[in-house]
Amino acid sequence: MKQGRVVFGGAVHGCTPAAEGRVRLADGRVVAETEVQWLAPFEPRTIFTLALNYADHASELAAKSSKDQAAFLTAQRSEPVVFLKAANAVVGHRGLTRRPRDAEFMHYECELAVVIGREGRNVPRDRALDYVLGYTVANDYAIRNFLEPYYRPNLRVKNRDGGTALGPWLVPASAIADPQQLRLTTHVNGKLVQEGTTADMVHDVASLIEFLSGIMTISPGDVILTGTPKGSVDVRPGDEVVCEVEGVGRLVNTLVDDWEPAARQPT
């Protein structure tokens, strides 16, 4: 059964879906989806993120890059390119994400997120899906104007507060027969802007688990954000961005203006 985590009445509750846009809290109460505040459906441990895992996204970036960068982006990569992301970046369904004042080009990235359920090291590919607890949807915003060649992607591109939406549901692995047969879409203000399928992943979910567990122990609560297809559009405060992964869920996020940090008070 798919599970969410929400705040209602001052407490955190597990929840399951109920009819007509409502959720059933663990204590039995049924409330509207819009009456609760959504957290990510689980608390992530290590967040692994694929830099480029869809060939069309790599080509799209290459077309907008220098010659050297383009060669790098479109080279056949034998190994996945993975970076880490921290807890400050996580925000739940129906959350607000700031568009930083210094952003010139900020875009969404609809991704299948794979949540690990078993500790593993050197997991072979043919056993890898046994280590999956479930799946959720990710929207991994990028502030592209900070991309630079030395260390990519750096924190200003990919580790902003609330820049990575996760949710709404943690869908159990048993509910997804094949994670490589799922359609992905993104709509901005109701308009389709991104469309793809997990069949186009360069490195599939099982290969990613084999690769990562070959370097380090993977643990329950670890999550792999498996990359995004092409179709990057700059988004602005006020935009509603909806990322959907077939069978996994429909994740809603709204961009808001940046705000001034709290004035420093003398202590």
Binding site: A87, N88, A89, D102, L155, R156
Partner: protein, 63 residues
Amino acid sequence: DLLRPVPCLLAEVTEFMTLEPGDILLVGVPEDMPLARAGDTVAVEIEGVGRLENPVRAEGAVS
């Protein structure tokens, strides 16, 4: 010898993300880092902060 002293690092990082209690900033290492080999015991010491000691073992070694 830090190129960017600690207050400067904290100001720069918190300019684009929030730091929370429990977060750690590793502020870099001076030049001439010796290689660590299996069987070594490595002790790193910082004046007034402490001495951190770790054995290095080959992967798969029992002890």
